[in-house]
């Protein structure tokens, strides 16, 4: 448990992730090679974060 959080605190991380995902969705459309790699990393990020948060064993 943490102290009551403000909307900015709640939505800061989700907003960053949404922007990164959007960059990932677009970049592979723009070009090949590096553009594809950016896309894999950016869209892989939510999956990675999910696994990270679920697997870490730390009391909240």
């Amino acid at each position: 448990m943490v102290a009551r959080r403000s909307l900015t605190q709640i939505f800061a991380a989700p907003l960053v992730i949404a922007i990164v995902s959007t960059v990932g969705l677009i970049s592979a459309l723009v070009g090949d090679g590096w553009w594809d790699a950016v896309s894999w990393a950016a869209l892989g990020l939510p999956v990675l974060l999910y696994l990270l948060f679920i697997c870490r064993r730390r009391p909240n």
Binding site: L7, P14, I17, L25, A28, G31, P46, F53
Partner: protein
């Protein structure tokens, strides 16, 4: 009750009902969509096909009229609707033939031809294939256009559920850090955390894939709009003519189109009288060569009796929107790694759906209204629910 609580309860009700209505269909779409991401690989694995002859780079392609005649010899009594260059296998050209020119192309026979020798390869019956059954379930549940539009409606509900989900995420996270997963707690708490975490991490992807899916359900209608709009405009002077009967050389028509639209590559030809053309024209559709422009098609209309160019224009915005929404839905524009990421995101979406249904059932059983549980995050911590 404060105005904020009231408004949150309303958002909670929107989230509950839009989700409940679409969940079953979204589960169907996520499960059938998973193998469809890899449909090429699955087809290669399950079905053998005749390989085109090895052709060193720079080998001239076969004359298209010769290729077409060879294809039609394999399908006596049928007429050609489309000639399609395979996107992934440059050695192959598909000829799509039907019983009559106005027959529904959905039931067409597909004949695979060798691009360089112009000879027949095979004509696989795809309708019994696993990927075909998945595709039909995914696009229209074997119910034609009504099925498609129905799934589109479910997709709209899904998008509304995501947006209302973002709103109700806030009260749920008032006292929790981002990414909180209370591993020591009971299942209902853990699954709430999974639902919130996966839901918020995937917001951009689920919205884009969901909404581009909705756009794809309108493809038939958008095509009709183009047919009666831009295509009719381009071929206005031909409007009262019957379907062209004595066709000029297909090969020459494609050459005229290539010349008219320099720098672009032919993608497919629609024969006169099909959905993609007028009654009097070969419509040669060309594409660019970047990942984006390779999806955007530009038609060149060739008078099928005179062999001359009638017109060539960029597609209107609604056709471009449809073409761009396809890769964004399929995830087929960034190689195998992107397909794998797409599949993982799809699996996480299934988690979101399943945990969502579970949370609704648990709260119903515990007698806590979903709206209240959502509006008042503390409700989840009450003893009745943590048993």
């Amino acid at each position: 009750m404060t105005a904020t609580t009231k408004s949150l309860r309303r958002w909670g009700a929107v989230h509950k009902w839009t989700s409940l209505i679409c969940t079953l269909f979204m589960l169907l779409l996520c499960i059938t969509g998973l193998p469809l991401i890899f449909h090429d690989e699955i087809d290669d694995l399950l079905h053998s096909s005749v390989k085109p002859a090895e052709a060193p780079a720079g080998t001239a392609p076969a004359d298209l009229d010769h290729l077409l005649a060879n294809a039609l010899a394999q399908a006596p009594g049928k007429v050609p609707h489309f000639l399609i260059w395979d996107r992934d296998e440059p050695g192959t050209i598909w000829v799509s033939v039907g019983p009559t020119i106005d027959a529904n192309p959905v039931n067409n026979l597909l004949i695979r031809m060798d691009t360089h020798t112009g000879t027949y390869l095979d004509s696989p019956d795809v309708t019994g294939r696993f990927t075909y059954i998945m595709l039909k379930l995914h696009t229209d549940m074997f119910a034609g256009l009504p099925g498609k539009l129905f799934l589109g409606l479910m997709g709209i509900l899904f998008c509304v559920a995501i947006i209302s989900g973002i709103v109700v995420y806030a009260p749920s996270m008032r006292k929790l850090r981002f990414g909180a997963y209370r591993a020591q707690r009971t299942r209902v708490v853990r699954w709430l955390d999974v639902h919130n975490l996966a839901g918020i991490l995937l917001v951009a992807w689920t919205l884009v894939v969901g909404f581009t899916g909705v756009i794809n359900t309108w493809a038939d209608l958008v095509l009709k709009m183009w047919q009666f709009g831009q295509l009719a405009e381009m071929t206005a002077q031909y409007k009262d003519r019957p379907v062209a009967s004595k066709l000029t050389s297909l090969n020459a028509a494609v050459e005229v189109a290539r010349h008219a639209v320099p720098g672009m590559t032919p993608s497919f030809v629609a024969f006169p009288g099909t959905l993609f053309s007028s009654k009097s024209h070969y419509a040669v559709f060309l594409h660019g060569d970047t990942p984006l422009t390779s999806r955007l098609l530009k038609p060149a209309l060739i008078d099928a009796e005179a062999g001359t160019l009638t017109d060539s224009r960029d597609m209107p915005w609604y056709m471009s929107t449809l073409y761009i929404s396809q890769p964004l839905h399929f995830g087929d524009y960034g190689g195998m790694p992107l397909k794998i990421v797409w599949a993982l995101l799809d699996i996480l979406t299934i988690f979101i759906l399943v945990t969502g249904v579970y949370l609704w059932m648990r709260r119903r059983r515990a007698g806590v209204s979903q709206e209240r549980a959502i509006a008042n995050a503390a409700a989840i911590d009450k003893p009745a629910l943590t048993s």
